[in-house]
Symmetry: D2
Subunit: 369 residues, 4 copies
């Protein structure tokens, strides 16, 4: 029996709640999950959400969740700035934690979080759900068996358009205090995929840009935008492969695009998160006159698709990725090998992002470490 | 508080269990759901699944589920041949039922089921989940506002390849006792979409074929295949529109295709369940030089996508359709309007399928009613 | 040296002229082509076009072209109703002919054309250019080597939207004297592909419909439309395979769609003329976990692409198909084997179309022969 | 009457020959074209090709072509290293020239070519055919009318796989004397599109890489590869827009990809040369619930498609682009405005490429001018 606490009930909080509700019915091989304690900014909201999500207790103070002796693991889904305090407190209280990405607004905070995790001996996992999709997991297997030979070039793009409207008012995401912009918001996700599939990044050369230099404020004045909605990065992986990473949160038309292109000596692989239930494979082993990208629909033989649906091509959704991540977390808590980004790797992702930002500021190639 | 019973824990049984587990967390506006009683073919399996799926009681006899006074609604997910007895018993016991499609192997059994539902006054819903997708629901709205004008032609195809292997052995699906073949297996799904979007079918002209006339049996002999893996139908809708329906369960390469083409006086709409998180719209209202099919990714403004994910283009999965259906069922039980195929419409779907089969047998156009 | 005559300079006339201008430069292996004589409805237009297209002589009377002793082969690209007279005259005059499809408005005229061709001993080819594309030709090879095993199901659709505007005025294409509608306009093209890839059609069951029952005339009155813009056909091939053929010339959004689906015991093939430089192949010989439709871009190894471009994936255009057809015609004239639809097969295509129309009129299955 | 000379009869030589053969028949509005003189490396080949392509004279010495008084314009389609001498000689001889890209292996040679062109007063055009496609031309119009608002981000990729085979032997393209690699081979094409659509590039930061450090020579030894098959560039346009350019000639699976992404304040545009008969447009002017990328098939209203085919969606091919370019060249020779890249712009393209190379060598941002 695993006792669960949840702090935060926004986009990701609900997503965690759904995962905790379903993980056992989907996978069968995990202990019973008890939704113990939900924390929100105030008691009224906490009670409402606990009721909806099926939690037994509700508190307007997150510390009550962390201190609850029936809670074994805490989902932390609040805004980034609260992660360090909550995560460190939870770890100190002896809880495993499942914290949404990125770790923290500053690198030193992220370092402190990793130190706390190490000291606690508890599992400290991050919510990098895109690595969990059956297509990505299968691509990882295919790369390992060298189906496309030795990798020699990579490209990855992450684009959405939620900041693309020039008439939207100035908000906190346009302030430098929120971070760099696309790098924080988006670059971490492609990096989680790169880390999972190819290893770490060694050197980066970054350019950033602002689609809109100023925005209107609520009172009608213009205010200078301080963050960069677009980032483009030349990079070298530790394994020697060169490539590019691009992120744009003002890319009209793109909704949830994470487009990966991997080129090897014997073929190539394409993937786009907007069509996450398929991927494309080109292999030179096919007869020359019939070589072409295969559009492969995910199916039960692409793990763990079969735990959700026994029929091929029927499709998982975004929320299912969190259920898979939850399952990995439970395996990890149980001491089994797990496919999961924990604080140690999470810190390296953030180190890479900060190196990108420094590269832009200094207009030069920067070594990540 | 709604008490739930579940009979059957295969593909669809698990899918129902997941829906019951998540419906409240997703939608928030429904009563608490209590997973009361699970029935399976034997006690051991029932206990195991009840444990996994979170049901409080388990029985090796489905009648125990139906007779359980704490159960308000029963999910029936057993093979079709058991539907009539179970559904009628459950309705007689005063339970609402949520029965997987199709209703029954024979039309008279289906009629008896509808009669039982009418007599009971209880909700008797069918598991036609494809009508629940945000894309389909939005297409329905667009058709109602005549964004593509007056409809004048329809085409729908449903294709999978689970029967396509010529080396697979003869099994019960090849016996005439299992039904007609593709018509039973598949045609009901496209019909559920047609009914939802355009109304009923009035006349049909059907052809059927067998890709493989014989199959090997386990003992190595050849046995004649009695069912038809492929069905192609000319049809007229009650609203006067002509079109075609095709179904093929031996279509290599197709995994979960349900491809709809709708042509109107001002545009057209395309949809394919294999890429269920998008649909295509062509409208002549666009300037001539920029007319083209728009690939529209589902998003929070396509109901009820936003209940699952607040960001556009992130995608729902097959299992999410069942959660939506479950929500509609609960609304219906609560006396609210619901988007659901109940026994009355379900019977018409089956009437249409039987008319198709008769058309093939008699090699002529057949009126459905 | 081959002397060429051309009658008609509309869409297809220009297309023939371009083919005659380029065929030797593209293929190299044909005799020099001399553009001798061009005929149009009046001398002024004939002279202008002869000038543009590079013909040496021009006449306002097509008979002058046919009678020209320097002319060896005549391209006939006038409206269908003129084909019989011109083709028969040209054959009698001892010319080879290259006549645009379809042969003639009536079947008896088409029969007379075939009789004239047989009597003359000259080549009488038809302009069924879609069979010439490198993708289609390669699909033909793949089918012959049974890469997808034994074919068991076919579907083909041809759709455009040039008749889709409900506000367009009544014109001659809406009159019964122009033929049946979509059947004449379109069905012949898919049939040319079916004949080329699979052989002839034995039985048909056809439905037809009118998107718009009436249209405005120039003087503002309503007039009943007499032709059918949409035709849907159940069919059986002579080789026993069942399938469907659909044609719609009022399908908003479709511009030049000819979508073919071929299912076999070991895979399937897809093609769409709107993306004629690619085709899709699914084969069960691929490892199960990586089976998917390959999108294969045409390339020099798909004959005769390499005659046009030595680099793969660069794409041929619609007019290139006519150059290929022209090359086949010249090979045929030279007594070599050629990939070409001549009058004998053309008559069978028309016989099939007339059988479809009869099937609709009589509301029953009709044997083609 | 325009007298044409052609030097070189490889891929591009044939392409020019086809264009000269067809341009008048396609466009109608140009003077008669006389194919006067063809030059090749030896007389025998020259005679053979002149015969095939329809040229009146043939020479084994290119100077004979240039000196021919009947020749008004010379197509130069030999390998790059010969361009400077031939182009300068032709210009001095008072001929217009149509020279394949890039201008020359060295920048100083390219400068000398421009100087010669200026001095001659003749037209000196380059073979940047991708700017001629109806889709690209229409995109240019749409950008000019600001259909997607103000541009704020650009991405362009050009990828093929003709160098991707690791087992292919070392050849001249792997020697530094051939140039930088992908930059010379490919980057000039995307730059021609960027110049046409957005203007010039001001600053670049380039990374290059080698997929295969060594290759086998014919005698079995390993030899170090000196050129870079992949180049990735951060760039700023003179108009202030930031973006990226990537080129890879070892990208397995890519055959003729030139993928453009343009993001603006009111929408975005996508194009891929592998599907050159379509482009994609997303506009925020569409109602929110139906916003999506429109796939727009080229049609007669996208100039000059209609000169080739009067029906939409039927598709032009790669060779047709050269016919359009030829038409522009003739318009330019006749003193009319033309859509063409001449030596002045061509030199700027090459300046940009050399700046990219310098940026890589110096590992820093480089100003193009």
């Amino acid at each position: 029996m695993l006792g669960v606490g949840l702090i935060g009930t926004g986009f990701m909080g609900k997503c965690h709640a759904l995962a905790w509700n379903s993980v056992r019915a989907v996978f069968g091989d995990v202990p019973a999950v008890r939704l113990v304690h939900l924390g929100e900014a105030n008691t009224e909201l906490a009670v409402r959400r606990a009721n909806e999500f099926g939690f037994q207790k509700a508190s307007g103070d997150w510390r009550a969740v962390i201190d609850d002796p029936q809670v074994d693991v805490v989902s932390i889904t609040t805004p980034n700035q609260f992660h360090p305090e909550m995560a460190i407190a939870a770890l100190k209280a002896g809880k495993h934690i499942w914290c949404e990405k990125p770790m923290a607004p500053t690198f030193s905070d992220a370092e402190a979080m990793l130190a706390a995790a190490k000291k606690s001996g508890k599992v400290a996992a991050l919510g990098y759900n895109y690595i969990q999709g059956p297509a990505i997991r299968h691509i990882r297997k295919l790369l390992a068996e060298k189906i496309i030979g030795d990798i020699n070039h990579l490209r990855i793009e992450m684009d959405e358009d939620f900041m693309a409207d020039p008439d939207a008012l100035f908000n906190w995401k346009h302030e430098a205090t929120s971070g760099y912009g696309a790098l924080d918001d988006f670059a971490v996700h492609p990096l989680s995929l790169l880390f999972t599939l190819f290893g770490r990044v060694s050197r980066v050369m970054c350019d950033m840009s602002k689609p809109y230099a100023t925005r209107k404020t609520a009172n009608g004045t213009d205010r200078a935008v301080e963050t960069y909605d677009s980032a483009s990065v030349l990079m070298h992986m530790e394994n020697g492969v060169a490539g590019t990473l691009q992120a744009n949160r003002s890319a009209w038309g793109r909704k949830g695009r994470i487009a990966l292109q991997v080129f090897g000596s014997k073929g190539s692989i394409l993937f786009d998160q907007e069509r996450a239930n398929e991927f494309q494979l080109y292999v030179t082993a096919d007869r020359a006159t019939e070589q072409g990208y295969r559009t492969i629909l995910t199916a039960p033989h692409h793990e763990p698709y079969g735990q959700f649906i026994p029929a091929p091509g029927h499709g998982l959704g975004f929320n299912d990725l969190k259920i898979i991540e939850c399952h990995e977390l439970i395996k990890r808590i149980n001491g089994q090998p797990a496919h999961l980004i924990e604080f140690a790797d999470g810190l390296e992702i953030e180190r890479t992002v900060h190196a990108m930002a420094r590269s832009y500021q200094e207009q030069r190639w920067v070594d990540v470490r």
